[in-house]
């Protein structure tokens, strides 16, 4: 065997050894993580709590402690190319999390560096919605698309924008905060940001509850929703009431869909995407939400954009999509 062929064999081994990525999705409540191969198969996954983790060092220790067994199961650290992390206000350029209102750590957090030092693997960070958009582009509803917008409708409203086949990061890495765009000037107050009338204050699960309280207070009409104690109201219960024919509950979804539809029209007139991919808890409401969304989006579009833009619901399994998206960051890593 010549020296050349030895070299070539070890090269092949190296490729096989770097066939896996770790995807980590940090949310306000929980942190989900998993081992993903290049085809987007989630081989192993688990989760831990984020809430209450006031000390960042011990959070990273606990994360390492939890991920380490999965790494071993998958054949050891040598098989991994890197770690992809999605987190609110995660910055792709700096590797820091900056002023994330829903995370326990305040200010500017050098998250990439801390995880890299602990795991001894390259780390790439972006915000959670960008990670989800990448996941959709590689493995989901946006496969093959060069221009789309991903909107996550959960506790908050997040977004990731792809144009010309690339994630839009902006000059500072923070592009795509569509949940904070103002849709009703001087409208509803947003506690997390101190701003008025943002999309997130209406079209999130939290927003739906606030709308419910307003609608109930502003009407004397009987409603199933009046039987639910205020602190137990959530968007799922409003959905259930609407499905039972409750008039006020249906109004709440019509109102939410109208605001979201108007916002989507604005986003379309910005980047003219082929599709808008919706993701997250609120999409479970199906046509109850999507019908008014489509109607009001079309109503607010000028002619050249009408009847062109698909509104799709993500078909990735919700708990997996965020991990897949975060892991997808790793394949572009220049190591």
């Amino acid at each position: 065997m010549s020296a050349d062929s030895t070299y070539s064999t070890s090269n092949r081994n190296l490729q096989a050894m770097e066939a896996l990525a770790i995807g980590i999705d940090i949310g306000g409540t929980g942190t989900k993580f998993g081992i993903v191969d290049r085809l987007g198969n989630l081989l192993f996954s688990s989760e831990m709590s984020t809430r209450g983790q006031d000390h960042l060092d011990s959070y990273i220790d606990e994360l390492y402690h939890n991920v380490q067994p999965l790494i071993e199961q998958a054949g050891g650290i040598g098989r991994f190319r890197g770690i992809g992390v999605g987190a609110p206000n995660g910055n792709y350029y700096s590797g820091t999390i900056e002023y994330a209102p829903n995370l326990p750590w305040k200010g500017i957090i050098p998250l990439s560096k801390m995880i890299k030092d602990k795991f001894k693997l390259p780390v790439v960070l972006t915000n959670d919605a960008n990670a989800a958009a990448l996941g959709e582009m590689m493995y989901g509803a946006a496969k093959g698309m060069n221009d789309f917008i991903m909107i996550t409708l959960g506790t908050g409203v997040g977004s990731g924008i792809v144009a010309n086949g690339q994630l839009i990061y902006g000059h500072d890495g923070f592009a795509g905060e569509l949940g904070h765009t103002i849709i009703i000037p001087e409208g509803r107050y947003h506690q997390g940001t101190g701003k008025y009338g943002s999309l997130e204050s209406y079209a999130s699960a939290t927003g739906v509850v606030l709308t419910t309280l307003e609608v109930l207070a502003g009407s004397n009409q009987p409603s199933l929703l009046r039987d639910i104690p205020e602190d137990q109201l959530d968007s799922k219960k409003v959905y259930d009431a609407a499905m039972k024919g409750d008039v006020l509950a249906k109004e709440i979804f019509e109102f939410t869909g109208k605001i979201l539809g108007m916002a989507l029209a604005n986003f379309v007139m910005f980047s003219s995407p082929e599709a808008i991919i919706l993701f997250g808890g609120l999409t479970k409401s199906g046509d109850l939400l999507l019908k008014p969304v489509r109607e009001h989006m079309e109503n607010n579009l000028i002619q050249i954009f009408q009847q062109k833009v698909k509104i799709l619901v993500s078909h990735l399994k919700e708990s997996d999509a965020a991990i897949l998206g975060a892991s997808a960051l790793v394949w572009d890593l220049k190591v």
Copy 2:
């Protein structure tokens, strides 16, 4: 002289021969055109009327007739690499103008093909604001920037968006219609589009006149503006009144700046640009407009975007900028 050196000489000639571009800017009122070199020097320019040119064929004939002498002055057709055209609703991908409300030709117009057939030169088309953005990136205030938004504040409001160093065209070539985004839901009616509450219906020269009529009708306060016959009102006269201390005129600019500032905040939270470049007649109002714009943009930005985004006024000569921008399209032509 060897065959090789002959070849090399003719190659050099070819480069010299293709050192020029024709830039054409088609507006609702007039069509401006000029000869531009690679450094952005406008060597010759002229203009003709667009308004009243109901027959597209005779418009193209007249355009050719007007441009031809400039081509000869510049050394003949052999020196030209191509023609760049900026026009409202101009589509980069298809080379067509589609449903442009302010042009005399209705429906879908194969403009690129018609100009190419007439001039026997490659033609590239985009919308007027995209052309202006390219001009700013190559020769103006956005030189060296990878992420910026160009907003033209004229009779209407146009926009061109650059992210990751590229113009955002969208899946269909129509991205960047920010003037039509809804900023006041169910707000002012826009005659051209039939929509309500768009940015253009407030933050254009036309919008300022409409605001003036509303403000005058809604108040008994004395104002210099009351002496101007309604059909002679324009944004310049409102500016002059404000500079003389007229309270209502100042209110009109404060209101316009508030709406534009809020819209800019939304655009920043979309693509996080390094700067927003303003261009067009309304920018001549200077701080009267820009002060409230800056204030209300910052007020509506969430923390991570605050005090980061420059608002710049284009320093390209207005009549030249559009031609320069259109000509800039030519240098990327794959001939």
